[in-house]
């Protein structure tokens, strides 16, 4: 058995390369600090910049439940910017989680949370509400979110029924059902957009479809926060099973994982979480694809470490992106999805390119 010992010497030269999982605590700490900085910057900067000291006193007043002082920027800070920054963080964290889980669910590192058709249903629900007037009063109020979530559940039921036929729940079946039903529902959405009554409606619809955090309010933060926390817990509880399915269904079965049940559970968790996220922010692209990918490069693919890191990185990224979307152009806000695509796509391509060179 002499030759078997040899590769250890070959690997010695790589020994200084640390195991990716070992850096995770440092990465997480750095991301948590970055999140704090990004949140602060996001609250300070905007159409009118608010100095840091004023922000802190507004936040302190808000937290202690005092009324905003009239004539100051308390109202902007506490009623608009803080909830918006927090919503960005929560949605970003959620997209990072969902992306990670969906990629394991369909065993493809380039899968997207929207691959399974859930967001198409949510978009159809939201657009129907805008165009057909169900949510006429509050454009981005609770009515719209409810319609979007109803659409998400409807598409979830359709994809589930399609993917389940024939008993199995294979990755390929899920993707095909998701893509097929997603396209089908998008057809309706596009039809409705064309039926939109006036330019303002069309503008509202398009803005929503490309993703926006403009609807953030304290009253609507609770549901996404709860969904993201529950989702994180549900996924962390299955971290080992998620690792195992990356190797293949047979391997996972041999490790004592009930793969069929795991897929069903993951599909439910990711669908509900996606539905909640899309219903509060529209379908913000690229975050769910890019975040897990980048995080895997840094901390490795083991989910117990990857999930929290992906949530933190997603949060930081979307807070920064939303800040850019609000401040890049004077007098005009860009849809968040436009910025994620413009920043995200080149970043992803650059990282992939470096990765391939490194081999």
């Amino acid at each position: 058995m002499g030759p078997v010992g040899a590769p250890a010497a070959v690997t010695a030269e790589r020994a200084e390369e640390r195991e990716p999982g070992a850096r995770a605590p440092w990465v997480a700490a750095a991301l948590a600090a970055a999140l704090l900085v990004a949140l602060t910057a996001s609250v300070c900067l905007g159409s009118s910049d608010v100095p840091l000291g004023e922000v802190w006193s507004s936040v302190a007043r808000g937290i202690s439940g005092q009324e905003p002082v009239p004539g100051t920027r308390d109202l902007i800070v506490w009623q608009l910017r803080v909830p918006r920054a927090l919503l960005a963080a929560v949605v970003g964290a959620g997209l990072g989680l969902v992306g990670t889980a969906v990629q394991a669910l369909v065993r493809n590192p380039l899968a997207d949370p929207y691959l399974l058709g859930i967001s198409s249903g949510a978009s159809l629900g939201a657009v129907a509400a805008i165009v057909l007037g169900a949510g006429a009063g509050g454009m981005l109020g609770l009515g719209l979110s409810a319609a979007a979530f109803a659409g998400a559940l409807a598409s979830f039921a359709l994809v589930w029924a399609m993917a389940r036929r024939g008993g199995g729940f294979s990755p390929l079946r899920l993707v095909l059902a998701g893509v097929g039903i997603g396209q089908f529902l998008s057809g309706f959405t596009h039809y409705l957009v064309l039926q939109a009554g006036d330019d303002q409606q069309t503008h509202g619809v398009l803005f929503w479809l490309m993703g926006s955090l403009g609807g953030a309010q304290w009253s609507t933060l609770g549901v996404p926060v709860a969904a993201v926390l529950l989702g994180l817990a549900a996924l962390l509880a299955r971290a080992r099973a998620l690792d195992a399915v990356l190797m293949g269904d047979e391997t996972a079965a041999g490790l004592g994982v009930d793969v069929a049940r795991l897929r069903r559970e993951l599909f439910v968790v990711t669908s509900v979480l996606t539905g909640v996220l899309v219903s509060v922010s529209g379908a913000i692209g690229f975050v769910g694809l890019m975040v897990p990918h980048v995080c895997r490069m840094v901390v490795g693919g083991a989910h117990r470490v990857l999930l929290p890191v992906a949530a933190l990185f997603g949060a930081v990224l979307l807070v920064v992106v939303d800040l850019v979307a609000r401040t890049a152009l004077p007098d005009q806000e860009l849809p968040v999805g436009v910025v994620t695509a413009l920043i995200g796509a080149p970043t992803l391509l650059y990282l992939l390119d470096r990765r391939l060179e490194r081999g």
Partner: protein, 271 residues
């Protein structure tokens, strides 16, 4: 721990793939499944590591029906090395081997020092101590297969089940892997394409043909020229290996045992 398969039938989408299979691997024995492509080797193995459910019959591990156990209980007895080779998800070698601890862990529980020791020992056992930090997908085929064996060993199983573990490996890596299996002295059930490897490694062979076991016993008894002609359709002489004394099957690579009906080149008797 003894494995016994009794009267096993497996049906896949309405088609009976395996029927009436009886086979055994005694405690501490290496038992091989051989047979032509599509004869049902993988199907039988999949019922042992519970990827497939038998249509009829039982799989007994240490006298217990594997289906009467919970999935983690079964995985603590049986570790499998299927033909899957993983995909590129940036898993480190260490993370892959640590998966072997899955059936011992509850939700949310992390690794304790005992797990870390077991993982390190499993890697050392396959000659890859120090490779923990490498990326699994960047390994060579031979190294990858040894990491997967280490993952199975980290499962601390009573029984190892391997599906064509030497597939796609060059000769040296095949020999190394088989030597590792031999050194385990653990009840092992594996399928092998290479009949000479099977003859050298296995204490007992079961020959599958069209979903039935057609012969069982020690390699020298089972691997006769007649069986090789009937089951595998090849002409071969079985001699003693000049170096090891194992049975050595010398195939006639020029012509099959019987002229194929659709053969276009006439086969002459005096070749």
């Amino acid at each position: 721990m003894r494995i016994a398969i009794e009267d096993l039938d497996v049906t896949l989408s309405g088609r009976t793939v395996v029927s009436g299979v009886h086979l055994v691997a005694e405690d501490g024995e290496i038992a091989g499944l051989v047979g032509p492509n599509g004869s049902g080797k993988s199907t039988v193995l999949r019922t042992v590591y519970r990827y497939l459910r038998p249509h009829a019959g039982r799989v007994l591990v240490g006298g217990t029906d594997i289906r009467s156990l919970t999935a983690p209980e079964a995985a603590r007895r049986v570790a499998a090395l299927p033909q899957e080779r993983g995909s590129d998800f940036e898993l480190s070698v260490r993370a892959v081997v640590a998966m072997g601890r899955t059936p011992y862990k509850r939700a949310f529980s992390g690794e304790d020092p005992a797990d870390r020791d077991i993982v390190a020992a499993a890697l050392a056992g396959v000659g890859l101590a120090g490779a923990e930090k490498r990326r699994f997908s960047a390994l060579s085929g031979g190294e990858r297969q040894r990491v997967l064996l280490a993952r199975a060993l980290a499962q601390d199983p009573k029984v190892l089940v391997l599906d064509e573990p030497t597939n796609h490996l060059d000769v040296l890596h095949q020999v190394e892997l088989l030597a590792l299996l031999r050194a385990q002295r653990r009840t092992t059930l594996l399928s092998l394409h290479d009949l000479n490897a099977a003859a050298s490694l296995c204490d007992r062979l079961h020959v599958l043909h069209d979903g039935h076991v057609v012969a069982s016993g020690p390699p020298r008894q089972v691997l006769t020229p007649e069986l090789l002609a009937d089951v595998f359709g090849v002409r071969a002489a079985v001699i003693d290996h000049p170096l090891t004394g194992d049975p050595l099957i010398a195939f006639d690579h020029r012509s099959p045992a019987a002229a194929l009906p659709q053969a276009t080149v006439p086969l002459t008797a005096d070749r």
